[in-house]
């Protein structure tokens, strides 16, 4: 009978091992960006049919290696985030892209246990971000409360950081945020089409 128990135990171990030991690929957070050392390490995004994603002009979007991460460059401003008439020069994405400091970034929740953004990016809370603008950004607080995140923020690098890329043309770095002053406080009309995951 001891042999029978051994065999039954072995079969049970097989079953448990099969369930536990299987490789399952994790789904990264929307704010995840692949590391890179050059533009060749990055790709041209494609849709579900394998066709390249194109912008309003029909030009394909292409990732660039910016700050060691594969990202999409853009010329909008974070202050366009809540502009109802704004359009984005970032690829459409169900998780929401917002142009922040020259790159297309996802919204994030600073309350997450795991870092929602890829280093050297961090999840910068909007309350912290807009605090520097005082009353000029007071209207954003009400809009931020409608976001699903507990502590809503955006993945990115403050432009006054040593590793931060330069602000887009026509923008200056103010309190860590690239701001353009040629069209009502922002550059262009770029903003996101959705508000995050």
């Amino acid at each position: 009978m001891s042999r029978l128990r051994l065999i039954v135990g072995l079969a049970t171990s097989l079953s448990i091992g099969l369930v536990v030991g299987c490789f399952r690929e994790a789904t990264p957070a929307p704010g995840f960006r692949y590391e890179c050392s050059s533009d060749d390490d990055c790709i041209t995004p494609v849709d579900g049919n394998g066709d390249p994603l194109v912008d309003e002009n029909g030009d394909p979007y292409a990732e660039q290696c910016i700050a060691g991460l594969c990202q999409h460059a853009c010329s909008g401003s974070i202050l366009d985030l809540l502009s109802p008439s704004g359009t984005s020069d970032c690829p459409s994405d169900r998780d929401g892209y917002t142009c922040f400091n020259g790159t297309c970034n996802h919204l994030c929740d600073a309350a997450d246990e795991l870092p929602p953004c890829s280093a050297p990016q961090t999840c910068i809370e909007f309350t912290t971000l807009f605090a520097a603008f005082g009353e000029a950004a007071a209207g954003f607080e009400e809009s931020l409360s409608s976001l699903p995140q507990e502590k809503p923020g955006i993945c990115g690098i403050l432009c006054d950081d040593a590793d931060a890329p330069a602000c887009p043309d026509g923008q200056v770095c103010l309190e860590g945020v690239c701001i353009g002053f040629d069209s009502g406080g922002t550059t262009g009309g770029d903003t996101t089409g959705s508000t995050g995951p």
């Binding site: 009978m1 001891s2 042999r3 029978l4 065999i7 039954v8 072995l10 079969a11 171990s13 097989l14 079953s15 091992g17 099969l18 536990v20 030991g21 299987c22 490789f23 399952r24 690929e25 994790a26 990264p28 957070a29 995840f32 692949y34 590391e35 890179c36 390490d41 990055c42 790709i43 594969c70 795991l114 870092p115 890829s118 280093a119």
Partner: protein
């Protein structure tokens, strides 16, 4: 004196009959049959005991493992083949499963914490899928071996075979 001439003829007939029937006993399929009376060996039909009279052979009802003959049968081969396959499958399952788990954790760490390049991610995904396949094959082999071993063990147990420990009253069967 008519009697004496008939005696040699009768003796010859009896001798021939005894010789013929005695040869027949050599072809008997029951070698364990013992004559009831040694004097009846000249008449094999009478010498042989019936099945009711003959006690069950001791060799078919072993009283313990030592007295039981060690026989190698196909059941034994299937049993040990199953055990070997189950062991190999189990070892492969544990080994490949552990490697897959390590690959999984490495990929998770890269995707969720430390960062990873697209090429490194693809390498880890390919490795993980290969290990998955190896794990599934190992599990299948192990399961097949376990089934073979359990089935063969069941046959041994049912038939009071020497590989199954005696828990049943095999001597009464």
């Amino acid at each position: 004196m008519t009697t004496p001439p008939r005696r040699p003829a009768l003796a010859a007939i009896v001798s021939l009959t005894a010789l013929a029937t005695a040869c027949a006993t050599f072809e008997s399929p029951q070698p364990r049959v013992r004559p009831i009376d040694s004097r009846l060996h000249v008449v094999p039909v009478l010498a042989a005991k019936t099945s009711v009279e003959t006690p069950p052979p001791a060799a078919e009802a072993p009283s313990d493992d030592a007295s039981r003959p060690r026989r190698t049968t196909a059941t034994h081969a299937v049993l040990w083949t199953g055990v070997v396959l189950a062991s190999l499958g189990g070892a492969g399952l544990v080994g490949f499963g552990a490697a897959g788990l390590a690959t999984n954790r490495k990929l998770d760490k890269g995707l969720l914490e430390e960062g990873i390049s697209r090429d490194d991610r693809q390498t880890l995904v390919d490795r993980g899928e290969t290990l998955n396949t190896a794990t599934i094959v190992s599990a299948s082999v192990g399961l097949l071996g376990a089934l073979m071993a359990v089935t063969a063990y069941g046959v041994e147990y049912t038939n009071c075979g020497p590989l199954a420990p005696k828990r049943r009253r095999c001597s009464e069967r």
